[in-house]
């Protein structure tokens, strides 16, 4: 498993290569990292805070890391592993480094190096095991299990989750958050994964749904359940209005136009004070009701609280559990709808269009209308999720609907493997759940996020669970179940 770009290099050229990498790193970092600009006092001046020691350590790590990677690529695994372990030890040691981040940097570099060095073995082992007859059976069961069983297991877990002992405020909050992103991911999956349209402004439809509920409930007194279908319709209408003119465009133009549209919606929300209350946002949005009963300690005039209706003592978590089941239900509706659509002519046309647009045109599929349905359906689910978001947060502002939100949803879809439903769930848990648990990552979270997107594209462009197979094939190939 030798990297073809790195032939059998003698030691000197390996050192030269590592030195060059270090030099590039130095050039990248010298100004931006080396001279940190800080405000001085009350004046509007800036002063330097020098960070050359940090830069120096980082460059040494990059030098060693590159050297280790070359060693690993040449098949010299043990030296590479030794180097990696030494880096981990250095990172974990109480050695005095200029900043805490560098400890992480050194240790993570070591971990990556060890993984890279061990990878060929693991890969060989997996392949060797898969070649044996029992291995083939296990492999087949494995893929089918991932395809079918895992989904049911996860669903079962999700349903019983609120009744398990861990279901405290924090976990439930996280569960609701993850499920919201699962739903958004599934919605975007229709557009990106099935129809192959890169939509960078998905958050715009989410915003439309959220503002639809916020405005209709606070100004016209409509309830959550009445607005939910309306919000979906509004969002879908926006999808059609936007999609109709732009869906004739090539993929990457479409991406930029959707991004532009996402920004337009946000800017309009910010600037249209009379209608949306501008950057201040809309507050005191009523939450969803259960058969007309509200989740509150005391009922409003003429109303009833859920605890009165059910005759149980009031507890704040009931509202969260209720929200949890709503979003679980909404997400499942999205999923089932998608699974069904994939088997209908229009769903097959989406997938066919993704695979080859020219062939589709030749076969008489109208690309614009087909794309438009995908776009509108995707937008509708974003609208549902948006009004759920508004009902859950009880306060919305344009801050929640920035481009980064679209990018997060997109990376969930991409990481999961475009078109894979179960992949979206795993990716949402990974991308939303992990950073929430590891709060101390703080600012590094988005940095890691961006780098992860690049690394996935480079090493696993098909995502964690690659599934871009069309649902229907003329000559079925041996493959796992549909995800």
């Amino acid at each position: 498993m030798r990297d073809p770009r790195l032939p059998n290099m003698p030691g000197t050229s390996m050192l030269k290569d590592a030195a060059l990498t270090a030099l590039v790193a130095a050039a990248l970092g010298i100004f931006i990292v080396g001279f940190r600009t800080v405000d001085v006092g009350s004046r509007t001046g800036l002063a330097f805070d020098y960070h050359f020691a940090d830069l120096g350590v980082a460059i040494v790590v990059i030098f060693l890391g590159r050297l280790g990677l070359s060693l690993a690529a040449m098949g010299l695994r043990w030296p590479a592993i030794a180097l990696g372990v030494a880096m981990i030890a250095a990172g974990a040691s109480p050695m005095k480094l200029p900043s805490g981040f560098l400890h992480w940097f050194v240790a993570l570099g070591g971990v990556l190096l060890v993984i890279r060095a061990v990878w060929p073995w693991a890969d060989q082992a997996i392949h060797a095991a898969a070649r044996t007859p029992t291995g083939r059976v296990v492999d087949k069961i494995g893929t089918e299990w991932v395809g079918r069983g895992l989904g049911w297991v996860l669903l079962g877990l999700a349903v019983v989750m609120p009744f398990t002992p861990f279901a405290d405020q924090k976990t439930m909050d996280l569960g609701v958050l993850i499920l919201t992103y699962v739903m958004l991911g599934w919605g975007l999956n229709i557009v990106v994964g099935l129809a192959g349209l890169l939509d960078l402004g998905y958050v715009a439809f989410y915003a439309v749904g959220a503002y639809a509920y916020a405005l209709l409930s606070t100004q016209h007194g409509l309830g959550f359940w009445a607005v939910l279908p309306l919000a979906g319709m509004f969002a879908a209408t926006f999808g059609i209005l936007l999609g109709f003119p732009v869906l004739r465009l090539r993929g990457d133009y479409l991406a930029i136009v959707t991004l532009g549209f996402g920004e337009i919606i946000r800017l309009v929300i910010i600037n249209w004070y009379d209608f949306t209350n501008g950057p201040a946002g809309i507050g005191s949005i009523p939450g969803p009701t259960l058969f007309g009963a509200v989740f509150a300690e005391t009922a409003p005039a003429g109303g009833q609280t859920v605890s009165e209706m059910l005759g149980i003592p009031f507890h704040g978590i009931h509202r969260l559990i209720f929200l949890y089941y709503i979003i679980l239900l909404l997400a499942l509706v999205t999923n089932i709808f998608t699974q069904r659509m994939r088997r209908l002519p229009v769903g097959r046309a989406w997938e066919a269009l993704r695979e080859d647009e020219t062939a589709c045109k030749a076969l008489g599929i109208n690309p614009t209308n087909t794309k438009l349905t995908a776009f509108a359906v995707g937008a509708m689910f974003a609208g549902f999720a948006g009004s759920f978001f508004a009902a859950k947060q009880r306060f919305i502002s344009p801050e929640s609907f920035t481009f980064i939100e679209s990018a997060i949803i997109l990376s969930i879809v991409v990481l999961g493997g475009m078109g894979s439903q179960i992949g979206v769930v795993l990716a949402a848990v990974l991308l939303i759940g992990l950073p929430e648990w590891f709060r101390e990552l703080g600012n590094y979270r988005m940095l890691a996020f961006g780098l992860a997107m690049v690394l996935i594209m480079v090493y696993r462009p098909r995502g964690l669970i690659g599934h871009r197979e069309p649902s229907i094939r003329l000559h079925p190939v041996a493959s796992g179940g549909s995800g």
Partner: protein, 304 residues
């Protein structure tokens, strides 16, 4: 009339900056057909390097503004090109031959990573750049309204014209330019004829980054304040400029930049400054719908 002329002068200055960034988009799109979404971040990094460069200049006691500007321009171009090169090498080159949207998604990743990297190492607060060039002169007065041109605006337009001239010469007359155009027409054929395609693509990114860095320096001098987020909006607008002019066309990028500058400034001057960004995005959508090839672009022929 005086007000109009004044706005036009401001618009041309802003348009020159957009045009310089737009060239990076248009060249990369022309050669490998991808939207380099991280290009705006290279512009932002160029602006940061310029800020640091100006501060170092004043620490070293370089008092003469022209010397400082030339020095900072050179530094910003040199070090931003390394970013352009490194991004292509690490995030785009391994993806050649992957599925169509892969480079764009990777580019979004790079963009997010670079933004947060600069936010982490330089802080999130806006950075005041101070005034490097001040003063100007009255062009004419009409109805008691002075039309002023600042020295800074003249510098910006001059730098842009010189760079554009040099750049056009580079593409039209040098062997690098020939290789670049050859790759743009047919990458496989160019490779068969002995053109080092990887190198040419790398150089395209380096050139684009250098021009973006100049735009960053000019932006810093013109507005006086930068932060880690300026790359996003400027990048989108420059991309709009590239599309408006016809993506893949160098004069188109410059023309598109000027037009975007004009639209933005006049919209703010005559309608409302709140919606000036909406106007820019609106133009992008309209151009793509009604004239996807832009003003100076060639129609794209779809081959199977």
């Amino acid at each position: 009339m005086a007000y109009f002329t004044q706005q036009l002068i401001n618009a041309i200055t802003l348009g020159a900056i957009y045009g310089l960034i737009a060239i990076g988009y248009t060249m990369v799109y022309g050669i490998i057909g991808m939207i380099n979404f991280a290009h705006g971040e290279v512009f932002m990094i160029g602006a940061f390097i310029s800020l640091i460069g100006f501060m170092i200049c004043s620490m070293l006691g370089i008092g003469s503004a022209p010397v400082a500007i030339v020095l900072v321009l050179l530094i910003a171009m040199a070090f931003s090109s390394v970013y352009g090169w490194a991004v292509e090498r690490a995030a785009y080159r391994p993806l050649r031959g992957s599925f169509r949207l892969a480079p764009l998604i990777s580019a979004i990743g790079v963009s997010i990573a670079l933004q947060n990297y600069v936010q982490l190492v330089q802080g999130a607060r806006p950075k005041p750049g101070g005034q490097i060039v001040s003063g100007g002169f009255n062009l004419f007065s009409l109805d008691g309204f002075d039309v002023r041109v600042s020295w800074l605006q003249i510098i910006i337009v001059l730098v842009t014209i010189v760079l554009m001239g040099g750049f056009t010469w580079l593409i039209a007359r040098t062997s690098l330019g020939r290789r670049q155009r050859a790759c743009e027409q047919d990458m496989k054929m160019a490779a068969l004829l002995g053109v080092d395609v990887d190198r040419t693509i790398s150089l395209t990114f380096v050139l684009g980054a250098a021009l973006a860095a100049v735009a960053g320096t000019l932006f810093l001098m013109y507005y006086g304040v930068i932060d880690f987020f300026i790359g996003f909006l400027a990048g989108i607008k420059a991309f709009t400029a590239a599309v408006l002019g016809g993506i893949g066309s160098l004069p188109g990028a410059m023309l598109g930049g000027l037009l975007i500058g004009v639209i933005e400034v006049f919209w703010a001057a005559y309608f409302s400054s709140e919606y000036k960004d909406v106007a820019a995005f609106g133009i992008l959508v309209l151009v793509l719908i009604f004239r996807p090839t832009g003003l100076l672009g060639k129609p794209e022929i779809e081959k199977v």
